[in-house]
């Protein structure tokens, strides 16, 4: 059974000028132990997907359709209190900025202990022991002494390690990591990815890794979902999507990234910009920028369909 199934998830924002659809029939699933990378440009709906899954949509945003299943049980319609128990216990979350994730007034040890005791039956002494073990496990030197330190006493990379410990300490099945390395320097970024990869492998955790950095995804993910304008436009194995993309948007995206191994004279560029939510073109949302548009693209909206080695929402493969 899949750890997570997202089926036709739709998120809407009611406004005075009508309802804006920010996520449009998003479907994917994550198997046990699998890392699914979710990529796309700002505004594509990556973070919103994560927020909708853990039930943290900011009002007036609301789920307008579809369902979210965690290990086969529906969680998108649970009352607030029940959902609160699932967050942390079954789904851990790691956000971009470690400084705003941690409470500056509590020592990191207290935050770890509180999180564990909320979700697991542990005595104070046991919880403290475990907190030290967690800090050691995420690579914080002198964990025994550092456990009583406050977040501001840690560097950015160390703070993100604490956040990872915090997300994993209640032993969830699924971790949603939203841009976990974006705020970090490159050399620290590599350390954090390696750490996340090791911990999730050791524990057989499933991860939904949201980032705009294709390098991070290529390195850490098993499968990739590419999002554009609130829809999943392509999904498939990481090597297939990166090396043999099918959707013209993915092709453009991969070509626009400068790579280290080869110097090219010109980067491929996708003309124009992503459409705004209130000005979605009819048919395929990518059609105004697509070099291979034909009549059908302007009239009919494509769903995900098998396309060579991946699945793509594109009429070229109909």
């Amino acid at each position: 059974m899949n750890v997570l199934d997202v089926e036709n998830l739709t998120v809407e924002f009611p406004t005075r000028r009508g309802v804006l659809r920010a996520l449009d029939h998003v479907s994917f699933s994550i198997a046990p132990g699998e890392v699914l990378g979710v990529v796309g440009e700002s505004g594509a709906g990556k973070s919103l997907t994560g927020a909708a899954i853990i039930g943290l949509l900011e009002p007036p945003g609301r789920i307008g359709g579809g369902q979210v299943l965690l290990q086969g049980h529906r969680i998108d319609d649970l009352p607030y209190e029940k959902m609160r128990r699932i967050r942390g216990k079954q789904i851990g979350a790691i956000f971009q900025d470690p400084l705003t994730t941690l409470n500056p007034l509590y020592s990191v040890g207290r935050q770890l202990i509180e999180t564990m005791q909320t979700h697991l039956p542990l005595s104070n002494a046991d919880a403290r022991l475990r907190a030290v073990r967690w800090l050691e496990d995420v690579g914080i030197p002198a964990a025994k002494q550092r456990i009583d330190a406050y977040p501001h006493e840690f560097s950015g990379g160390m703070r993100q390690r604490v956040v990872i410990a915090l997300a994993l300490c209640a032993e969830p099945r699924l971790v949603i990591a939203d841009e976990p390395t974006t705020a970090l320097d490159v050399s620290i970024q590599a350390q954090v990815i390696a750490l996340l990869r090791r911990l999730t492998q050791e524990r057989g955790l499933s991860v939904m890794l949201i980032t705009h950095d294709m390098g991070v995804i290529a390195e850490a993910a098993d499968r990739i979902a590419v999002m554009y304008a609130g829809r999943v436009v392509e999904i498939g194995g990481v090597a297939e999507v990166v090396r043999h993309p099918s959707h013209p948007y993915t092709v453009g995206l991969m070509g626009s990234i400068p790579v280290l191994d080869a110097r090219v004279e010109r980067l491929r560029q996708i003309e124009g910009a992503m459409p705004r939510l209130n000005a979605m073109p009819p048919g395929c949302p990518f059609n105004p920028r697509c070099p291979r548009t034909f009549d059908r693209c302007r009239d009919e909206r494509p769903e995900l369909m098998p396309a060579r080695q991946t699945a793509a929402a594109c009429w070229l493969y109909a």
């Binding site: 440009e41 700002s42 560097s155 990379g157 160390m158 320097d185 490159v186 050399s187 620290i188 970024q189 590599a190 350390q191 990815i193 390696a194 705009h212 950095d213 294709m214 390098g215 991070v216 290529a218 390195e219 850490a220 194995g237 990481v238 090597a239 297939e240 999507v241 990166v242 090396r243 453009g252 995206l253 991969m254 070509g255 626009s256 990234i257 400068p258 790579v259 280290l260 191994d261 110097r263 090219v264 010109r266 980067l267 491929r268 560029q269 996708i270 003309e271 910009a273």
Partner: protein, 334 residues
């Protein structure tokens, strides 16, 4: 491009900042003044129509070098020369000042939200009295077209544009005084990758058409490789490796450059067919207020020995690359 005229030259430039606590607190705590050495004896030269890139992690001093290069900071030691003239002397003459300009990282913070785009782009033209009356608006229209916007966009305010379009406005503004030398401080790091490609392509087109010289500052090695002819890798205020981009990427000498190249996640790694082995650098960048003794990279360096901990390495030439490393000099562990 047969001409190889040096536009900008930095000779042993140092910049320090006083980061002491206020006098009373300092006296009560019984501590002396504290000085942060943001840039330490940095030398480089940029040739007309070429790009020199500086890369490094946050806090390595690359942005300070950029600000020194346009005269926004004065060097605490050493000298910067613009076409052979001392930069601080050159800054006194508007005719020379016009010839350098800067593009900043954040296109949201670097454009005045209360000004129309046409006024933003026209400001340098008016400040240097290059054109008058109708000609100014015609020139603004031309500049906007050059960067891929429409002359009618001049009527709008910055908030009506996306991040990529705003960065195009900053580029138009930077070009409006017809500079020969542009400092670009992380011009694409606030942008999405597909937009980044648009801006990088635009910058290269402009360079070819107008022979502009760039000092390009970035933390992204792949972007730097795409843009630069010459490369300087910075660590804690020093240039640790300096030379033609192709030579450094083909055969990095300094252990920091090597580790940096190894550490960067790259789309070439997809699916386990890694062309480069992965080796995250251990440790973190030390505080520049109290840098380690000797070679400042020694606490993180796999090749460090007693000499590295004691003695500051000098730049030595290896092929066409300058590297500041005892291990490279002695031929250890290559």
């Amino acid at each position: 491009m047969t001409e190889t005229r040096t536009i900008l030259e930095a000779i042993e430039v140092t910049r320090t900042f006083d980061v002491s606590r206020p006098w009373l607190q300092r006296t009560l705590a019984g501590e002396g003044r504290r000085v942060l050495r943001a840039v330490d004896a940095v030398s480089f030269a940029v040739t007309l129509g070429r790009t020199l890139s500086l890369v490094g992690e946050s806090g390595c001093g690359k942005s300070t070098v950029g600000r020194l290069a346009v005269g926004l900071y004065a060097p605490s030691g050493g000298e910067i020369r613009f076409e052979g003239q001392n930069l601080s002397a050159a800054r006194a003459q508007p005719a020379l000042r016009r010839r350098t300009n800067m593009i900043f990282q954040d296109p949201y913070a670097s454009l005045n939200p209360r000004w129309r785009v046409s006024d933003i782009v026209a400001e340098p033209i008016r400040a240097f009295r290059l054109l008058k009356g109708r000609d100014v608006q015609d020139r603004v229209g031309q500049l906007l077209t050059q960067v891929g916007l429409s002359p009618r966009d001049g009527e709008k305010y910055p908030h009506e544009f996306s991040g990529g379009q705003r960065q195009r406005v900053s580029i138009a503004r930077a070009l409006s005084s017809e500079p020969e030398f542009l400092v670009c401080d992380e011009p694409t790091s606030a942008l999405d990758v597909s937009v980044q490609a648009q801006i990088l392509n635009l910058m290269r087109d402009l360079q070819e058409r107008m022979q502009i010289t760039y000092l390009f500052i970035s933390h992204n090695l792949a972007v730097v490789r795409h843009m630069s002819n010459l490369l300087g890798v910075m660590y804690l205020g020093r240039i640790v490796e300096y030379g033609p981009g192709e030579s450094i990427f083909g055969n990095p000498r300094h252990p920091y450059t090597r580790l940096l190249l190894d550490a960067i996640p790259d789309i070439g790694m997809a699916g386990g067919t890694n062309s480069r082995a992965r080796a995250p650098i251990g440790g973190e960048v030390p505080s520049p207020i109290s840098p380690p003794s000797g070679c400042t990279f020694h606490p993180r360096c796999p090749l460090a020995n007693a000499r590295c901990r004691a003695e500051v390495p000098r730049h030595t030439l290896d092929g066409d690359v300058l590297a500041a490393c005892h291990a490279v000099e002695e031929g250890r562990g290559a």
